[in-house]
């Protein structure tokens, strides 16, 4: 009985716990080659698109040029929820597709190594885990947006594309897409929590949602007129961040991204709390 009084039962505060877990996740992010590989992939995508389009084919014909203006590799001129050519689709939003795969690998390691067992046995609460993963992966995807931008600029210069743009709208579009990373990262964290025992399914589901297929399908049915409604979804808002963006775009993206991040974090926390950890 005497010994019980000597034992102090107290757990760290929410801030302490989150700080500790974020420290671990950021350390892991910066010390894994995967992060740098995905940064390179993000830079390579626009370089590949810009440098291979408009080139001379072996038969002497010219392949169609996707963009004449380099910034279309970042975003479309207007929000296009449905598209007619791959050029209208292939822009910075592709970072979110590859980002989903990165999140799957990152979270997959947690389960594969047995790290989550150690984590959930002791101090960590489920919402700390969801938050920490969402924030870390959002940061990683925002970094991928930056390397994508650099890749686009460098290859645009090399190919000799037009650089004329409304700088304010461009900056808002880029910033908005970076903000959208939080919502996307939370979605992928949630998907990986659902399919935590099936790594392949985790990656496939992240890829499926990352491509925006469900939203594109709705866009195809209702046309671009459904845009304002589609903006409530992650893919919709990501498309909304275009080269004609203004401050409203930024606010919409901020609200949508944070709202979905909260929803996915709450859902993920409930799921983790109710399910067993193997």
């Amino acid at each position: 009985m005497e010994n019980v009084h000597k034992l102090k039962f107290e757990s760290p505060s929410f801030i302490q716990r989150l700080k500790g877990m974020l420290g671990v996740d950021f350390y892991r992010l910066f010390h894994t080659p995967m992060f740098y590989i995905f940064l390179a992939i993000a830079a390579f995508i626009p370089a590949l698109i810009l440098s291979t389009t408009g080139m001379e084919n072996p038969d002497g014909t010219m392949s169609p040029q996707l963009y004449t203006n380099v910034w279309n590799a970042i975003a479309a001129n207007t929000p296009l929820y449905t598209f007619n050519s791959i050029g209208e689709y292939a822009n910075m939003n592709m970072v979110f597709i590859f980002g989903g795969i990165m999140v799957s690998i990152f979270i997959g390691h947690d389960y594969k190594s047995g790290y989550v067992k150690q984590l959930f046995t002791t101090h960590a609460k489920k919402q700390d885990y969801m938050m920490s993963k969402s924030i870390t992966c959002a940061f990683a995807m925002a970094c991928m947006c930056i390397t994508y931008l650099l890749g686009a600029v460098v290859s645009g210069l090399l190919v000799g594309l037009d650089f004329s743009v409304n700088v304010g709208s461009l900056l808002i579009a880029i910033l908005s897409k970076m903000i959208m990373s939080l919502g996307w990262a939370s979605l992928y964290t949630f998907l990986n929590v659902i399919f935590r025992r099936y790594f392949g399914v985790s990656i496939a589901s992240s890829f499926f949602f990352g491509t925006g297929i469900p939203i594109i399908a709705i866009g195809m049915i209702f046309g671009n007129a459904a845009g304002s409604v589609l903006n409530i979804f992650l893919y919709g808002s990501s498309v909304y961040a275009c080269l004609s963006s203004n401050i409203v775009t930024l606010l919409v993206c901020l609200v949508v991204s944070v709202a979905w991040a909260l929803i996915y974090n709450v859902l993920g926390t409930i799921l983790l709390s109710k399910s067993d950890v193997y």
Partner: protein, 301 residues
């Protein structure tokens, strides 16, 4: 106050009942040897204690509080299956990451202390993936020790250890409980090793606790036997078999007679049958034999 108190614990995996109203009591300051065959429910019980899986019924209390209580969870250290380390990081970095997760103040000092306790100071710079199995087990215990947990739950920590590793592990575990503030639950199939350190035992079978006892109670329950050697072991066995109900030859070449009252009685009986005893001693059965006896007895019922 007990470190762990479990009443009527139930857990189903689909149609399979892994735990059937299990009761378990682990006193504070004990090294509790948790014994049972594969699939008996040991790991399931340990995972419930650790909050990793949810029971379908029953009550689990740690230090008188609900096992889900965040404050009490902070006082649990665990090694279940694998230490949860990242293979490409060094032992030191893995430990520091765990210390960060636990929000430990002064992590360098704590990590050094934990590594010293498991005699792993010299291997701190090694990559985890390059460590031997024995080293990994000790790293797992060091990680479990971070944050000064009151309760340590160790699943098969003795697996894969060599003789020296076993000795170190025994020393580590007995060191941990010296202050009386720490409690260790350790499951293992190496009953001989477990007997050297455990102060309490719990034997589980088919999801039910067969019995719980202290080391002293086990000692008192273990039957004595007479072990002897003669020049003609086969003949001796057959002669003894005529009088005593259980006569067996053990691995070290002794004939064991379990139901003899005194060694002199056997010596006289064999002498009368023309057999001279070259060596004779009395001894007690160990935990392993006790366990096998218990399992066989339950099987018969």
């Amino acid at each position: 106050m007990n470190a762990i108190e479990i009443k009527g614990l139930k857990k189903n995996f689909g149609d399979k009942q892994a735990l059937k109203s299990l009761n378990m009591t682990v006193p504070m300051g004990a090294i509790y040897g948790f014994i049972g065959e594969n699939g008996s429910g040991k790991s399931t019980t340990e995972k419930i204690i650790c909050g990793l899986i949810h029971p379908n019924g029953g009550q689990v209390k740690l230090y008188g509080r609900d096992y889900r209580d965040g404050d009490v969870r902070a006082k649990v250290g665990v090694l279940i299956e694998a230490p949860g380390c990242f293979p490409n990081y060094s032992v030191w970095n893995n430990m520091m990451l765990q210390a960060a997760n636990l929000s430990i103040k002064n992590p360098e000092k704590e990590v050094q202390k934990a590594l010293k306790m498991v005699r792993m100071e010299g291997a701190a710079g090694n990559k985890y993936k390059n460590c031997s199995l024995g080293m990994k087990q000790r790293i797992g215990i060091a990680m479990a020790l971070l944050g000064d947990p009151a309760l340590l739950v160790l699943d098969e920590p003795l697996n894969g250890l060599d003789a020296d590793g076993m000795r170190i592990m025994r020393e580590v575990l007995t060191d941990i409980i010296k202050d009386g503030k720490h409690t260790v639950v350790v499951s293992s199939h190496l009953l001989g090793e477990l007997q050297k350190i455990a102060t309490h035992y719990g034997i589980i079978r088919h999801g039910k606790m067969l019995c719980e006892m202290t080391a002293e109670e086990l000692d008192a329950s273990c039957r004595t036997y007479v072990a002897l050697q003669t020049k003609d072991m086969n003949r001796t066995k057959s002669i003894l078999g005529c009088k005593y109900s259980r006569v067996e030859e053990d691995e070290s070449g002794y004939i064991r007679v379990y139901d003899a009252k005194e060694p002199e009685e056997i010596v006289t009986y064999l002498y009368q049958n023309g057999v001279l005893v070259s060596e004779i001693k009395t001894d007690k059965i160990g935990l392993e034999e006790y366990y096998i006896d218990l399992m066989n007895a339950k099987e018969v019922r």
